[in-house]
């Protein structure tokens, strides 16, 4: 495993790999290596040697960190100023059974956001700039350290969610946010999926800025509405949101509240199993029907975040046919499904990422060819 200590060293390594046409497997903290199509044998290029917070300006809500910096280090620094990464990055260790420390580079490269995403935006919305090394070993920067920046094409967005295939991130510049002064969650128990998701959509149509909207099925289902803000805001919003529906069972606060949303964020309901887990992004009003159909057809289990816009689905098996069935169920409404947890065999046998319309697939391939002409950066990881 190569672990360069500087961006220049990393660039030199990639330049060599490009010349030799040697594929590289890009690795941050190593907690997400089981995402995507299984890697062909390849040299591992770690960004963990590029570590440390470069700049933290709490008054400007700005943090710049080298890509290999651990999320733990970043979150500790932010917590000291009562700030946070508002998009709630997922910690995949529990779901994927991985070890190590997730890195900020891996977080940005996978662009996967947690429950607050539907209110505040995704990881990509908080990335103000990046530095990366292309597949030819060129060092490129995009954006910067200011929130408003329309200077040239937004390559930072393109790097978010590219899983390293368009370049290896070396530094990211993030917009951070103050932690809410107060937070609590209204829990309505015993609703059906349709009832629960309808309540969430109704609540999301109010001006009360719901910061979490999840439905957890079970013997006693839970419809969860997270409210955040200044203390007076939380009190006021609680009163108004409670009035939306009868059947409020409890109000969760403190440690129990934090644990509840961490469990939704990290997909805890599906921990401790090897069954395949899929992440479905759909139109919220279609979520109940999609999930019901897949439960019947596949024996799948589901829970819902983002007011129904995000379905976490666990299936007994994962095959190309099952992937096709899931995607066919989503297709009429728009949206997509990604296999997040699957065995090597399963991930090799099906399209982990949703296949795209032909022209979009062609554009994506052409972009890869431009940024990584020899195909050395995580080749075929995102292949559909």
């Amino acid at each position: 495993m190569d672990m360069p200590k500087t961006e220049a060293q990393l660039a030199a390594l990639i330049k060599q790999a490009h010349a030799d046409k040697t594929p590289l497997r890009i690795r941050g903290g190593g907690t997400r290596t089981d995402l995507g199509r299984p890697a062909q044998p390849a040299d591992v290029l770690s960004t963990q040697g590029l570590s440390g917070i470069t700049l933290y300006d709490p008054g400007a809500l700005t943090m710049i960190a080298q890509a290999g910096t651990s999320m733990a280090e970043i979150e500790t620094a932010l917590a000291a100023e009562n700030q946070m990464l508002a998009f709630e990055p997922i910690d995949y260790r529990g779901l994927l059974g991985s070890t190590g420390e997730p890195s900020i580079g891996g977080t940005v490269a996978t662009n996967i956001s947690g429950p607050r995403r539907m209110l505040v935006g995704a990881c990509r919305d908080f990335v103000m700039g990046v530095r990366f090394v292309t597949g030819e070993g060129d060092i490129v920067k995009s954006g910067g350290r200011v929130m408003k920046n329309v200077t040239g094409l937004d390559l930072s967005k393109l790097q978010c969610g590219a899983y390293g295939g368009l370049g290896v991130l070396t530094e990211v510049s993030m917009k951070v946010m103050p932690k809410p002064q107060a937070a609590m969650t209204l829990v309505f128990e015993g609703f059906t999926v349709e009832q629960g998701l309808a309540l969430l959509r109704k609540a999301l149509g109010t001006p009360f800025e719901l910061a979490g909207a999840a439905f957890l099925p079970g013997a006693t289902s839970r419809t969860c509405l997270r409210i955040e803000g200044l203390k007076t805001q939380v009190d006021y919003r609680t009163k108004n949101l409670t009035a939306l529906s009868s059947g409020l069972s409890k109000i969760v606060t403190g440690g129990e509240h934090d644990a509840l949303w961490k469990s939704i964020r990290d997909v805890v309901p599906f921990h401790g199993s090897n069954k395949p887990v899929w992440r479905l992004s759909v139109k919220p009003s279609a979520a109940a029907d999609i999930a019901a159909a897949l439960e019947t057809a596949l024996g799948a289990e589901a829970f819902f975040d983002w007011g129904g816009g995000l379905i976490w689905l666990q299936t007994p098996d994962a095959t190309a046919e099952i992937a096709q069935q899931i995607r066919a169920e989503i297709a009429p409404h728009g949206g997509y499904a990604t296999l997040i947890r699957g065995s090597v065999q399963q991930r090799a046998a099906l399209d982990v990422f949703q296949p795209q319309a032909p022209r979009l697939a062609k554009i994506s391939q052409q972009l890869r060819d431009q940024f990584d002409p020899a195909g050395v950066l995580n080749p075929s990881l995102m292949a559909a």
Partner: protein, 478 residues
């Protein structure tokens, strides 16, 4: 003569004018304007110092017509300048003599409103304000609010990734755009995104937004709509020291209160505005307008926190609006700032962004540059996100004044880059800042951006001579 160069028009294209117009008329009957008297109306956008009538103008009424017109241009190798409402301050839709304008002005349908899933789908010729207009009776709004929102089109908002006064809380266009339908240069129609969140695969939507018409013609947009807040109220804070005002902004932002807007005006601006609008502003070095939203109780609570922060820094003025009228009065001056400036002078409006911590230094340095260039400048801007709007005052009738103003402006923008900011926060690069791009980006940075354009527009037909410095893009432009 002004100083921004444009390439020499392609004589071959000019020689084929009749052939090109015939082909366009055959492809999109009734949508082509070729009379030189009529095309003159499209010779510039809001950067009026630069003008050039296009070869022809095409204003399609249907998606398929956009595709058909684009296909003709692709096959004939004709350059295309996409145009929304033509309100760009950066020359983003300035024609060239050898290009046709492909405008979205007749694509103004609202296609779908979905309150249950909180989105609206529109054709991109609709104005920014009409998007909110379509949903406000039902209690919703579209958040990005550039000050030209009455006139500017969603097409241009997407091209420039427009912001506005309220983007401190709600973000800019890219944060509120969830899907587009785009006509590629070869005429193929591609859909990206939709009512669901985030992309599968590469974030193509993210690269299209803010691409200044370099990658394709965006003809439909799916936009997030938000429930309208219950109320809003501003507070006016005056300081006699720019540095203290900057500190106040940072302290507010850090406090956990999330204002929807923090606007800043400096003394030269306050004086002109006060003279024009009689808003009752104090004569001080720095004026802040901070607005918060919510219910009455929530507003009161947020404003208490903000007033405490402001009071601790010894303001010369601290005034909370007590009524709707007083709120309007506080905003009146700020909203009339550009008009007031226009009454007394020609002005050039810049929009570089700087890190918040560099605001005081940047303002001080702009003052020094003003003396060096012997030109006046007034500052009015979105302080919450460091997006400055220095207004350089000049006399367009005075020979040489525009060039001097451009030189002063270039120095200010370079300063923004030097302190860690950027050339443009919301207006876009266009032609205006095109040749300054090398101050912000290395050759490798620009090469990477141009490679994205190579994918979408291999012939480099779209929006010629914008965004990329002429010298840097020479080989590709042919």
């Amino acid at each position: 003569m002004s100083t921004i160069a444009m390439p020499v028009p392609d004589s071959d294209t000019l020689g084929r004018r009749d052939e090109i117009i015939d082909a366009l008329e055959a492809a999109v009957p009734g949508a082509v304007i070729s009379d030189p008297v009529e095309t003159r109306a499209y010779e510039c956008d809001a950067l009026t110092a630069y003008r050039c009538p296009p070869l022809a103008v095409v204003l399609p009424c249907k998606t398929e017509e956009v595709a058909a017109a684009m296909k003709v241009c692709f096959d004939l190798g004709v350059r295309v300048v996409p145009r929304g409402a033509g309100t760009s301050l950066a020359g983003g839709s300035l024609p060239t003599a050898d290009s046709i304008i492909l405008g979205t002005a007749r694509l103004t349908d609202v296609l779908e409103i979905d309150y249950d899933n909180r989105f609206i789908r529109v054709q991109t010729g609709v104005t920014n304000l009409s998007v909110t207009g379509a949903v406000e009776d039902d209690g919703f709004f579209y958040a990005p609010d550039p000050s030209s929102q009455l006139a500017c089109a969603i097409a241009g908002n997407i091209a420039m990734n427009s912001g506005g006064a309220h983007c401190l809380k709600y973000g800019v266009t890219t944060n509120n755009l969830i899907g587009v339908k785009i006509v590629m240069t070869d005429g193929e129609i591609v859909e990206v995104g939709g009512p669901h969140l985030d992309a599968s695969g590469l974030d193509i939507l993210g690269i299209i937004c803010g691409s200044e018409g370099q990658l394709g013609i965006v003809i439909e947009a799916t936009l997030k709509i938000l429930p309208k807040p219950e109320g809003a109220r501003p507070v006016l804070i005056g300081y006699d020291d720019a540095e203290v005002a900057g500190q106040c902004v940072a302290n507010i932002i850090k406090s956990g209160v999330l204002p929807v807007a923090i606007e800043y005006m400096d003394r030269p601006c306050i004086r002109v505005v006060e003279n024009f609008a009689k808003a009752g502003y104090p004569d001080c070095e720095a004026l802040l307008i901070v607005e918060v939203e919510g219910s009455e109780a929530e507003i009161a609570d947020q404003l208490t926190i903000i007033k405490d922060i402001a009071a601790a820094l010894n303001p010369v003025e601290l005034r909370e609006a007590q009524s709707a009228d007083e709120s309007a009065a506080i905003w009146k001056g700020r909203k009339s700032a550009f008009g007031a400036m226009g009454q007394i002078n020609d002005y050039m409006c810049l929009d570089g962004t700087v890190p918040l911590s560099e605001l005081p230094f940047t303002l001080k340095r702009i003052g020094e540059l003003s003396k060096e260039h012997e030109m006046d400048v007034a500052n009015v801007f979105h302080a919450g996100d460091g997006n400055m709007h220095p207004l350089i005052l000049f006399d367009a009738n005075q020979p040489g004044d525009l060039e001097r103003a451009e030189a002063f402006g270039a120095d200010i923008l370079k300063l923004c880059v030097q302190v860690g900011g950027c050339l443009t926060g919301e207006h876009g690069v266009g032609i205006e800042k095109r040749d300054l791009m090398t101050d912000q980006y290395s050759a490798e940075d620009l090469e990477a951006q141009m490679r994205v354009k190579d994918v979408f527009d291999p012939q480099w037909l779209l929006n010629p001579a914008k965004v990329f410095p002429l010298q840097v893009s020479a080989a590709r432009r042919g």
